[in-house]
Symmetry: C2
Subunit: 136 residues, 2 copies
DNA sequence: TATTGTTATACTCTATAACTATA
DNA sequence: TATAGTTATAGAGTATAACAATA
């Protein structure tokens, strides 16, 4: 039999993950990009909007709309950087931290459920392989 | 350490695969959807445009533009189905078959190169896991 | 002059609903 | 009436270039 098509399989898996994440995010009133941005903030790998754009993969001009909405809901705050007033430092509010933490927990549970179809060894190998490939 | 985020890892892997496929497809003058459509035809899981839309995941109205271009280049042909003249049967021409086969070969080589970063056991487990997850 | 955040504009992609021709 | 293919239109998403404030 043919070797499976890596690109096709990966795309199908991603589509399934998104399909299962969507209801979780909808309950929280978040779009996918909102969640990615909040997760980047939670991971702590962002200070200014420029950093956040790089860390999240969101274009800096499109990041703005997401931040406007998130700030309007009190989930993040933007404050000028005293050291360089061109920068704006973005940070999670307590409410934002609570929301993204809750979403992440639900998503982890969903992922665990999805991966439970695999033997434990394959599951570990999958995670190892993904981490390795992405770190190239 | 935290368990890796499956959605994020999968998205990153897909982005890397697309990044590596793009130059191959550009050389062939194909867009990603063209390749997906031609691959579906090569796999033989499509007869009418409706079937092809379902098999490739392309919306039936957007499939049309791709088929127009592919037909214009002589890579596929559309002929009315004698049994039900509402249908159009899509098939690869000899040139189309040659082109998609060549692309697929190049993409397989690229995938093999990408996967060569993994130990053989993890590589096999990755492919097994992806197939299993997608088949749910 | 260069950079951060922002806005404006044009372009592409997508979703939806019609329309035709067949059945 | 229903379906396959097609076309048209409106909306969302995207890329690009400009702009204001600051360095």
């Amino acid at each position: 039999m043919d070797r499976p098509d890596l690109g096709k399989l990966t795309a199908q898996l991603l589509r399934e993950i998104i399909r299962r994440e969507t209801p979780i995010l909808e309950r929280a009133g978040l779009e996918m990009w909102d969640y990615v941005i909040l997760s980047s903030l939670l991971a702590g790998d962002a200070a200014t909007q420029r950093d956040l754009a790089a860390a999240s993969g969101r274009d800096k001009t499109r990041l703005i709309g997401n931040l406007d909405a998130l700030e309007g809901r009190g989930l993040v705050s933007r404050s000028p950087d005293p050291a360089d007033r061109r920068n704006k430092v973005v940070s999670l509010t307590a409410a934002g931290r609570r929301l993204v933490t809750a979403c992440r927990s639900d998503i982890r549970a969903m992922e665990g459920d999805l991966l439970s179809a695999l033997p434990a060894a394959d599951r570990a190998a999958l995670e190892r392989a993904l981490v390795r490939l992405v770190d190239l």
